[in-house]
Symmetry: C4
């Protein structure tokens, strides 16, 4: 390993969490900035404008939800981390990078809801988000940076859920080529998946 | 409950407060970004531009005040919370979502001050803000996540004040259809209500 | 006092500082967002664009410096505060409001550097910043919310420096009507004033 | 020294770090805001739009990486600082200023990738970033504000790496006049340099 990464042993978990929290808070708030209605010249235009905003609002709400789920997952992971090291920090920065791409994808699909390329891009961005989270998690588990007492079964459950989400985002991106409606459905199902009772998730993942 | 929400018992109050603080700070600062005067080609245009900015400035100041009141309420609530759990976290995220919609409403009404649809939307957004705060508060009280010693009378007083605000926002939205001036008045009264002496609030709410 | 403000005794100093830090950090960073050069169609336009950016860059740098000085002053004040109460919180929120107006003023004067109305507005905004800081400070000193041991002489020195800054901003706004160059000079002198050796400040203020 | 700076002895390291973290988090997230595709009128335009976005995406990713490296360096430095004083605070604010200029440079080069002036500006901005970091570091070492136990050899190694980066950014800016491709190469090499194994850096710097 290079000296640069080696010397990063010292960064405490809470500072990494604080920076991540800051970035996530900014991302979810800055995204909304695209929702705007400027001065309207004719009153009849209002309903038209509000209708054009609906896909933007929906994509914003969906991304807000997905990023919130990621924030919760991120916190739960860091809560279990006992030691950090340089490589963990870079896996985290890699995750923050893909999270910062979410406003772009959200705006793209919200402005052009029926464009299959927009659904493809949105799917790719969220796939990369899930992927970078998986890389972070894998590293943490492998290097045994966690506290004792996290059962192997819990690990598997979370790992399977992440894999499922990843696979679904990939599927959503691919199916966008054929039908944007299928990818819409998948984009909605994935966050919803996180809230369904345990047994069902357990069965779907195995 | 699903495992995802179940496992969220561990998130400490201060981290939820920190993320909420971050989001609120961003919202109230990003809102101002719409107030802008670009390069003016003719000097006579200045007064015209400044006049067009006045409703934007007023709506910004009003929203800034309303969000500040919500920040204070939010803090007071969390100061009393002893334990958090997963559902509380999601009620909080739900609140943050509606708070993030405030810049949109503020910009809409500030750009089109005499459009009744703008007042309606503004009223709805703030109604949803009050509503999501009420849901959060109700959950916290029901599940007895608070410290001992908060008197039932104090609870009722705050609950009544929230209900009054909610009802007034709804009324403001509805009256916008008839007269934007009535809704303007209500939008100003609600924050002002929080600063009037106790006795008057007490009487109005019962 | 109303119950709302009364119940705010409990907000710890560090949470108020954290929110203020967040807002200030956002303000100084969002301001820069106006500095932008889009895709240029002809290469010759570059120098023209860069030249048009110069007043924007200068006003941004000046505001960045002024806001940094305010952040330092804010911290020094809060470092001395032992107890907070509701009114202090609202004086602080009032200060944050005027700080959030700085990007608007900066953009206005940066886009229209020779427009006297822009200098007037910039002067007013910073005057209100200095004023709201003075109100906050006065309240803190009057209500004896400070730690023991801050000498009366130190108080006077800081109070005089603030008054001088306030007066100068007012003067800058007024002189803008006659000559924007005079107000430019004053706008630069005020931050510079904070860095001159003690004796000179002492003499000018008395 | 002036009283203002003298009285700043009291600002704790963690508050300076918190403000710096906040500013950096905002900078790296606000930068992405320029990456946007609005409503497209014709579907054929998509690929064209996505292609135009590529240099923007690349410059964003590169700046994101460079700023992350600076954040890590910043943290490592502050982790070693035992005492702060007024001048250190201003060296830090000076650094934050140049970091806040990065979105401008990134947007400039991303929108006009083949314009040599854009590469020149980007190089100058990052040179100033490296320079202000060096000034901060020099001051900290000279005034012995560090904890004991940081070996002289480690100091030299970091100092040499910073000097190399500075020199390279200067070179990149200059070479932009002749060929933007050379400066691109250097812009990519510098962050990459931070990740190469120790021995190679050691040799290049001496």
């Amino acid at each position: 390993m290079d000296t640069f990464t080696e010397n990063m042993k010292s960064i405490p978990t809470n500072r990494i969490e604080a920076l991540s929290d800051g970035v996530i808070a900014i991302i979810i708030t800055v995204m909304i900035f695209d929702l705007k209605i400027q001065s309207l010249t004719k009153e009849e235009m209002v309903w038209e404008e509000l209708m054009m905003l609906t896909p933007k609002f929906v994509s914003y709400a969906l991304s807000f939800l997905s990023l919130s789920i990621m924030w919760v997952n991120h916190h739960q992971l860091f809560h279990q981390i006992r030691n950090t090291d340089g490589r963990l920090l870079w896996y985290n920065i890699h995750l923050l990078f893909w999270m910062s791409m979410v406003p772009f994808g959200t705006n793209f699909i919200g402005s052009n809801p029926f464009l299959w390329q927009a659904s493809l891009v949105y799917g790719i961005i969220f796939f990369m988000n899930a992927q970078s989270f998986t890389l972070l998690r894998k590293y943490v588990v492998e290097k045994e940076l966690l506290y004792e007492g996290i059962s192997r079964k819990a690990h598997l459950r979370i790992r399977n859920k992440n894999r499922l989400a990843q696979g679904l985002y990939l599927l959503a991106g691919i199916s966008a080529v054929f039908s944007v409606y299928i990818s819409f459905m998948i984009f909605v199902i994935i966050p919803a998946m996180y809230f369904t009772p345990e047994k069902i998730i357990h069965q779907t993942a195995e």
